[in-house]
């Protein structure tokens, strides 16, 4: 479930991204929580994409098409 032992995600990159979008300073652990939120989002996205893929294409599972289909709803579900 959790990503492997490696560096889980590039913290600097995520902080840069967030700062670019918000144009505001971030406190220390914001990016970790954001990544937690992102992981939840990803979980839901993959789950729903898998469901959509199974409904549409049978055994395909998570495909680009199914992800495209469900990502709008998932993003809307993760609005603050």
């Amino acid at each position: 479930m959790a990503p492997a032992a490696k560096p889980p995600y590039p913290r600097a990159t995520l902080r840069k991204t967030l700062r670019a979008h918000t144009n505001q300073p971030l406190s220390k652990n914001v990016d970790i929580l954001v990544f937690l939120n992102y992981a939840l989002f990803m979980q839901r996205l993959i789950r729903e994409a898998g469901i959509a893929g199974k409904q549409a294409g049978g055994s395909a599972g998570v495909t680009a098409r199914s992800v495209r289909k469900v990502r709008g709803d998932c993003l809307r579900g993760f609005r603050g």
Binding site: T17, N29, V34, N37, F41, L75
Partner: protein
Amino acid sequence: MSESARKKQRTSTRESEGQDGTEGTLYADLHAHAHLNPKPVTPFRRAASAGVTPNSRRTPNVPIRTPGTGARTPRGGPATRPIPSRRTAPTTPHAIRALRERAHAARTPGHTRRRSGRIQRETPRDILRDLSRVLARNTQPTEPHLQARPPRNSALDFPEIEDGPDPAVPRLSMPLEDMYDDDSIHEAPPRQSLLPHLPDDVDNGTIQSLEFGRRAISEDPRMFGTRVSERFADLTELGMDGEEYEIDGTFINRRQTLDPQHAFQEGTDDDTTTDIRALTGRRDGRPSDVDLGVFGDLDDEVDEPTFRFTIPQRIQAAAPEDQDEEEGLDASAYDERQNGVYNDEPLIDEQADDNEAGEAAATAEGEDATGVFEAIGWESEHDVEDDAELEAYREETSAIDRSLQTQSPERPTDATKAPRRQRRELMVSAHGLEYPSFPAAVVKRLATGFAKSQGSNGKLSKDTVAVLAQTSDWFFEQVSEDLAAYARHGGRKMIEESDVIAIMKRQRQITSNSTVFSLAQKLLPRELLQQLRMEPLPKAKGQRQKRKRMETIDEES
């Protein structure tokens, strides 16, 4: 009723004026036209006809409405007019009311009444009359002006022009004679003053302006120079162009790598190259087609029949390669090359690419150091007799090469810089700040883990990962916008953990059953969990308190 009175007055004045005014004036003409026009149909009559009326009313209406029967004498008009109005005995209530209104209108002050009546009476006759009033009544006939204009027309060679004054006026306002003079001025001077002897059909696109046309560097104006020797050099240059790979041939010969192919070279020859040799007087250049067969990608250049096209091709191909080689060489070799071997460099390079690179470079350097023009094999070996020409040729090539050398360092640097920039793709946020997209590897790792946990094989195709990465970029953008909004709402500049927690609450990720830490424990690796745990332990307490108030906080945030 009152109208009729007014009209009578008017007719009287009109008559007097018509007798007074001279016949030639515009005023008099207009009056005459006004007389010819039919009388206007007054609204009173129309209203009466519109209503339900006895037959007696229709009969006066008909002649007035139709223009044919309405052609009365102007004097008879007002005389006959009041009669039908008197005749009318209003029977219907509508007609009665209309009559009353009319009577009221008659009692109203004169100027308003008149104005209303005038609006109703918009006939051509009235327009003409108004116009005649506007005009001066005692103007003289305009014959003198009409007589004054025709002589001008005749002077301008327009004898058949209509004598009506209106079309003539705008034309006469223009100085036609000056215009013709201007034309002659426009055409003549530049050609005559600068280059008097040019016939018209000469293509003087560049000659006309003493400055040469701007060309690409490759089409250096030197190639179209005026000096005979330069031109000759150009021709040899063209010949060189056809023979480019001739040099290769000699070069290969010297290295003795492609000897068997060299045997074939004697038999074949290119048409264009022979022609050029005939022009330049050099017939004994070695044909190069076989060598070209070896380096097949360069075939098309030689097959090109047009010279202008091939020259820039060769030069452009040469420039960057030269630069590449220069980087590997020391300054002395570079200076040597400046003297004139520059032409040969690309060819050497191609050789080096095809054969062993190190050897070729070494030999090339040796060539450069010893005899500069050894590389131009067919000339140096066979055309020993015409040295002067050769000298001219050498000078010319060196000149061109120098011009190339000055240009060449710029191009390759651009070429090398461009791909480096492309490697980093930075997106720009709404605030104008650049940010890197979230790495696809992380996205893939995370997504694969989730997919596996779901029970599928966990394999994601490339485009799936691409879509996921794009989606995660969108997600981060959305989340950070929300975070910024939350921080702004809290009156903070800094975005804090509480904002993220508030967002997750709004998303119903954090409920009474799942805290931040339970989620983090499930989803995050241990390092991150520790980092998260180290600081916000007090916050966790506060968060539990918050959670009790969460229902109200939810709507707020």
